[in-house]
């Protein structure tokens, strides 16, 4: 590393307001200096992905395929939501099913209360279901986030079991193990799944867009700071409690929407499906697999793992064997990709660029690609030791 050059004595970073640049920009979030070509490449890829996603059900109209695609999109959304809180803040939450199920039961209850007929109209309730899940997240988050990270994980799991029990016991609201019925839409079998596909796509777009927006904002910066050194962040003035809770609630809102779409798709909802332990772990796994703390990581993770899971579901009929295969799949992913796919490739990119920049002079070309570029990968060679030091 080169030693820092002697700074000029004309610099006046300190006291007087006149030192502020006349073209002061609004407080930036993640670095806004970006090479035009890098950003353009991002938008092109995102645009292309969007086009493919929109055209998908029209090309592959087989309901079985659309169904798998729909589930994949729901997991893209749920995993992105999970990552937006857990990946960014470093607080691993393993009870997201609480919000998934809350959204599901909200939809069921309201749809029945208002005697809604099946159809596109019911989808309008999905955002409301998300908001409801967000409301639920406020007390749950408030209680859970007062603890240290280790305890936090377990508390989220405990909350999961509590909600599952509540689903069984609060028969007035949930009908207990008898479950609840949702309105059945009058669509033809051939196109039935397509409606849900687009609904899931909508939720997924919202999830990814939100994830991206947070990442670029000062709010996201504070989350990342909390992840690296929470006490220090607090010492610098970050309102850590508010920031964590807000992220937690946002994450819950999206997860709730996923639950609502899911329930509507199934047509009925029961406690073990609304509140499913494997859901909690699956979305975390996808986040880890794709890359924690990135925007595209959970997306990639879901796009790869969910179809795989669905495929296994179909191929393997024996319950025991299915479980064994899931478990082995999880173990393989964790064993061989603890960082996730995205950070590994981004890290290589960054090392290349850093080397080039050092040779090229002051801040020559350091393109920053907020979406693909990772400011906070799971690990860099030095960060393992740094993590120890900073504690």
């Amino acid at each position: 590393m080169s030693t820092p050059s002697a700074p000029s004595s004309e610099q006046n970073p300190g006291k007087s307001p006149s030192s502020a640049s006349p073209t002061a920009q609004p407080v930036p979030g993640a670095s806004a200096r970006v090479l035009p070509s890098g950003r353009k490449a991002q938008w092109v890829v995102t645009g292309a992905a969007l086009v493919v996603a929109l055209a998908f059900p029209l090309i592959f109209s087989n309901p079985a395929t659309t169904s798998v695609a729909m589930f994949t999109l729901l997991f893209v959304a749920a995993s992105s939501a999970w990552n937006m809180f857990s990946g960014y803040s470093g607080y691993t939450a393993l009870g997201q099913a609480v919000f998934f199920g809350s959204g599901a039961y909200f939809l069921a209850n309201v749809a029945n209360l208002w005697h809604m007929q099946g159809g596109v109209g019911v989808f309008a309730l999905v955002p409301l279901a998300g908001l409801f899940a967000g409301l639920v997240a406020v007390p749950v988050g408030w209680i859970s986030l007062r603890t240290r990270r280790h305890t936090f994980v377990v508390i989220t799991i405990a909350f999961f079991f509590i909600f599952q029990l509540l689903a069984y016991n609060l028969t007035g609201l949930t009908n207990g193990s008898a479950g609840m019925q949702l309105p059945i839409p009058p669509w033809l079998a051939a196109t039935y799944n397509t409606y849900f596909y687009f609904a899931a796509l909508g939720v997924a777009i919202i999830a990814v867009a939100l994830s991206w927006a947070v990442r670029r904002s000062r709010f996201g910066l504070e989350l990342f700071a909390i992840r690296d050194d929470e006490d220090r962040a607090r010492g610098l003035g970050v309102r850590t409690g508010q920031v964590k809770l807000s992220a937690f609630v946002l994450s819950a809102v999206v997860t709730g929407m996923c639950g609502a779409v899911y329930a509507y798709y199934l047509g009925s909802i029961y406690p073990p499906f609304a509140f499913e332990a494997i859901f909690d772990v699956t979305i975390a796994l996808m986040g880890f697999f794709g890359g924690l703390g990135t925007v595209s990581g959970p997306v990639i993770g879901a796009l790869i793992l969910e179809p795989l899971q669905q495929y296994l579901n179909l191929q393997v009929t024996s319950g025991g064997v299915a479980l064994i295969l899931f478990g082995v799949l999880f173990l393989l992913v964790i064993r061989y990709l603890p960082q996730g796919i995205i950070p590994s490739s981004a890290e290589i990119l960054r090392n290349v660029r850093a080397r080039r920049a050092e040779q090229g002079g002051p801040r020559a070309s350091q393109p920053d690609q907020p979406t693909v570029h990772v400011t906070g990968p799971e690990e860099t060679p030095e960060s393992t030791t740094l993590g120890e030091v900073g504690k």
Binding site: R146, A158, L285, A322, F326, P338
Partner: protein, 293 residues
Amino acid sequence: MSTQIAKAIVDGILTGGVYALMAAGLTLIFGVMEIINIAQGILVVLGAYLSYVLQVHLGIDPFIGLFFTIPIMFLLGVGIEWVFIRRLRPQNRTALSILVTFAVAIVIEGLLTLFFSADLRTLNAWYIDESVHVFGFYLPYIYLFGFGLAVVLLGALYLFLYRTRTGFSIRASVQNRTGAELIGIDINRVSAITFGIGVGVTAAGGMVFGATNSFNPNSGYDLISRLLVIVVLGGLGSVGGALIAAVAAIVIEDVTAVVWSPVWASTMFFGVLILVLLIRPNGLFGQQAARAQ
């Protein structure tokens, strides 16, 4: 009514003792290794199945069978630690350990389903069917024996932790992992042994569980949820805390079943956790306990 409450309290204490044994293993594992063994629940079930197999196919009494099942489970624990846990990188260890042990739990559950199907099983012995008449109600002998077993094993654990060199190493590691390494403690060996102990006690817990409940591979979820609550309630890393939490929580649950309704008893069990966390966010004997060991 008061007889029922008395019975509930006694039941709670006796059952709580057994849960305390299983929770002790879990919390010790966390204390030493900072990982959370989600597989503890299904391992209890595995212990139950092992006892079941020994009894049904070899006619061995469940208590005698412990001489076989405990070492087997101990070795299994060491094996799991060595294969899966040791490789985990320091960053995000705790979260990763949850995913890994959950995956291991799923595999075990799958294997059990394959071999035993989802049929409910239970253990049989004279002390399970017969009861002793005390304080105006009937208490199956198994509850007393199970509690006695828990006391014996916890006592043995205590002696091990406080009177042996390895036990000392374990306690030192709980207090300060890096410091322990610096004074020459082989953290790998300590971790393996701790994990082995943590799993070994589930053999005993599993036997009693299998004797007092009917079980199938799906029973693991309910168990791990309770164990997690107990461990957090007592404070992660605190064996004493786990003991008190286990007995307290289960007594409250059993009394709630009698006083209010069985339906809400389980919810109350978790509710206690929430209530305590509101006052003491890190459990009853949270961080301090890790030192006091």
